[in-house]
Amino acid sequence: MTGLSVEDLSVTYGGRRPVEAVRSVSLEVAAGETVALLGPSGCGKSSLLSAVVGIISPAGGRVLWEGADVTHTPVHKRGFGMVFQDGQLFPHRTVARNVGFGLEMAGLDRGARAERVAELLELVGLEGLGERPVTELSGGQRQRVALARSLAPRPRLLALDEPLSALDAELRGRLAVDVRDILTASGTTALVVTHDPAEAEVMASRVLRMRDGELVP
């Protein structure tokens, strides 16, 4: 069964001298599969990911989910979640209200929200920390909250943009295994961007390499 298909996707940054960050990239991610995009910084992998999720609009090409064109679907209707490099937690909300944000947007009632939030906090190993302000968490805990938050509304696809690069080396190794297990346990289709080959190997079942805006065959 096909999950995500990307066809000839290009991303260009405007300005006086436009930069072609992604040059007609095509790839596929099967449902339930985790694919890693590996490449040095500045190779365009984050731009590609942002275009897939819909945060930036591509200069050309198409993004399809199960054959349906979603290239022009607005971000919030696309059903693709994203874990940002530095978490991007909402500083004015507690852990539980961060994790519950997507459920609030989906219009779930309070009881159903609380249940799902508890479930996810358990999944990422942060049971009982729901009422903490996110500003009091360690780096590793923050990324766990970010992961739980993006999984909560059950996204069709989860995009992870360097989810572990803000952490120290030892923690990174441990958390990479955790992320893989969590993704497997929740059966999520995922596309993860990283510059660390070891991390890519651990987290993904398939690794694609990228250089200068293009996939390396």
């Binding site: 300005g15 919030h76 909402f90 997507g102 996204p155």
Partner: protein, 547 residues
């Protein structure tokens, strides 16, 4: 370190600190305490007398008007300043720096100029006279908005420009549409900055004396203008002192709210700052065009009508009013020519700026090394910022209108210069201290290890790096002193008016010529102040940036 050497160092520190401390003690703390005591004491502890003023219906009216005007002014400044912050700080476009510079102009204009400009616009025979807003609450609130929109844009814009746009993106990926992301993510992140801008603007509006005094006529009185009336019309110093106590309590309340908002802002923002600006696109024109149009109209209309009416003469336009600035008007109007008043202003402002920057330099030198006593000194010299200049003026009138240790200050114009120095000092200190602290202490150590004595270290390391900020502070202090109206209106003698008090006198006299001269004099003051500000802005630099 030997005991003797340590003692010398302490003595030197306190010897230097004594200069600003004594100055502030005599010209600020003593007058302030006198006002406080006079407010509660009249030959004995006099609650009844105090209470009589507090419950007087005039006092209640003034309090209500002060709160109403400040609320209207704040609401208007926020309504215009928040979209303005978005357009001028969050978005990026060509020519933006210039527009930002122009948008900051109202804030550096003296209050008397702003009040005169709005009188020119809305008053009798002004282009918008048909609105009937002359001497109305709306006109005053509009002048306050003119003044303070720049403040809102600066504070909110600074926060907005460093908000990470990806936090809103994160909300979008979680299913929030544009409006939801705005409400749930951007608004909460901006809120502390908005609250802190609101409290600062509220404070400015609640203490904007000149605008209310000129534009309010006899009908609209705030606490500050009421203080002025009690002194200058009813000669009731006691009532003025009680009102000053009320004003002080009011200001302390606002400052407490402001400090609370600032603490919250720091907590939410944390330490992370990113560049959150983005280039403007064609779609942004839908926001940019209306915002910039309204901002432009608000700024241009009063200033344009001020200039136009300064040139308006019977049967056409000409420079007659400007020529009249050099001639002696009838004694009943003004005892000296406006030109002479301008000279008075310049001399007073030079002295005031000299005192303020000299004191500021001492405070900055003592604050170069952080420490508790340095921080206390810093806090102390900032105090005049929290006290309305009207209260400073009244206090000096009550205390120093006599001979002090052999110096006869009675009615002396030196008092005006001292008051202006007190008012300008906080800004001077805020300009110099961050720069003095930015100097790497290791540079001083390096100089010391090369054999430089402490004052040589200062002369060869600190001074060369502080020279430009010093010029900036000197310019600021000069411009503030030149336009100072609150304290000056209490202290300037009628026969030795400054340019702002001369403008005030001219506005209050009947006759088209007097009006025209007031407008011409306001244009002159605006150009003087703006010119000084622009010249000194060129001194702005980051210390060590060119190393």
């Amino acid at each position: 370190m030997p005991v003797g050497r340590r003692l010398t160092r302490h003595l030197t520190w306190w010897g230097l600190a004594a200069v600003p401390l004594v100055f502030l003690g005599v010209f600020f703390v003593w007058p302030l305490l006198t006002v406080l005591i006079r407010g509660l004491w009249d030959g004995g502890f006099d609650w009844a007398g105090t209470w009589a003023v507090v419950v007087d219906s005039r006092t209640a009216d003034a309090l209500v008007t002060t709160a109403l005007l400040a609320s209207l002014g704040t609401a208007g400044s926020l309504a215009l300043g928040i979209p303005g912050a978005y357009v001028l700080y969050r978005l990026r476009w060509r020519g933006q720096a210039t527009v930002r510079g122009i948008a900051a102009v109202p804030f550096v204009l003296p209050t008397i100029v702003v009040a005169t400009a709005f009188t020119a616009l809305l008053g009798r025979s002004g282009p918008l006279a048909f609105l009937g807003w002359d001497q109305s609450v709306w006109a005053i609130a509009l002048a306050m908005v003119f003044y303070n929109t720049a403040v809102v844009m600066r504070i909110v814009g600074g926060t907005w420009a460093s908000l990470d746009p990806r936090t809103a993106d994160a909300a979008r990926t979680l299913g929030a549409n544009r409006r939801q992301a705005w409400w749930h993510v951007t608004v909460p992140a901006l809120m502390p900055a908005v609250a802190s801008a609101a409290s600062v603007v509220f404070l400015f509006c609640a203490t904007s004396f000149g605008v209310v005094l000129v534009m309010g006529g006899t009908r609209i009185n705030t606490i500050e203008t009421e203080i002025w009336l009690q002194v200058n019309q009813y000669l009731d110093m006691r009532a003025a002192a009680v009102l000053s106590v009320i004003q002080l309590a009011f200001v302390v309340g606002i400052l407490a709210v402001s400090a609370w908002a600032r603490r919250r802002r720091e907590r939410v923002l944390g330490t992370r700052t990113v560049d959150g600006t983005r280039p403007a696109t064609v779609r942004d024109l839908r926001v940019m065009v209306p915002v910039l149009t309204v901002l432009g109209l608000l700024m241009a209309a009063p200033l344009f009508s001020l200039v136009e009416r300064s040139l308006r003469i019977p049967g056409g336009h000409g420079i007659d009013h400007y020529v009249a600035l050099f001639t002696d008007p009838p004694r009943s109007v003004l005892p000296v020519s406006v030109w002479q008043a301008t000279m008075n202003s310049l001399v007073t402002a030079v002295i005031a700026a000299g005192i303020a920057t000299a004191l500021g330099l001492i405070v900055a030198a003592l604050n170069a090394a952080r420490g508790r006593r340095a921080a206390t000194l810093d806090a102390l010299v900032m105090m005049p910022l929290g006290v309305s200049s009207v209260v400073v003026g009244l206090g000096m009138l009550l205390t120093l209108n006599r001979s002090v240790v052999g110096f006869d200050l009675r009615g002396s114009w030196w008092l005006v210069a001292f008051a202006q120095a007190v008012v300008a000092l906080p800004l001077v200190v805020r300009t110099l201290i961050p720069q003095a602290r930015a100097i790497d202490p290791r540079m001083r150590s390096a100089a010391s290890t090369l054999g430089a004595r402490p004052w040589r270290v200062w002369a060869s390391v600190d001074w060369p790096l502080l020279r430009r900020p010093f010029g900036l502070a000197l310019g600021f202090a000069f411009a503030i002193s030149l336009g100072e109206f609150g304290a000056t209106s209490f202290l300037a003698r009628p026969d030795r008016p400054t340019l702002p008090t001369a403008i005030f006198r001219l506005l209050g006299r009947p006759g088209l010529e007097n009006m025209g001269m007031a407008f011409a004099a306001a244009v002159l003051l605006a150009f003087l102040t703006a010119g000084i500000m622009m010249t000194s802005e060129r001194m702005r630099t980051t210390v060590g940036g060119d190393l």
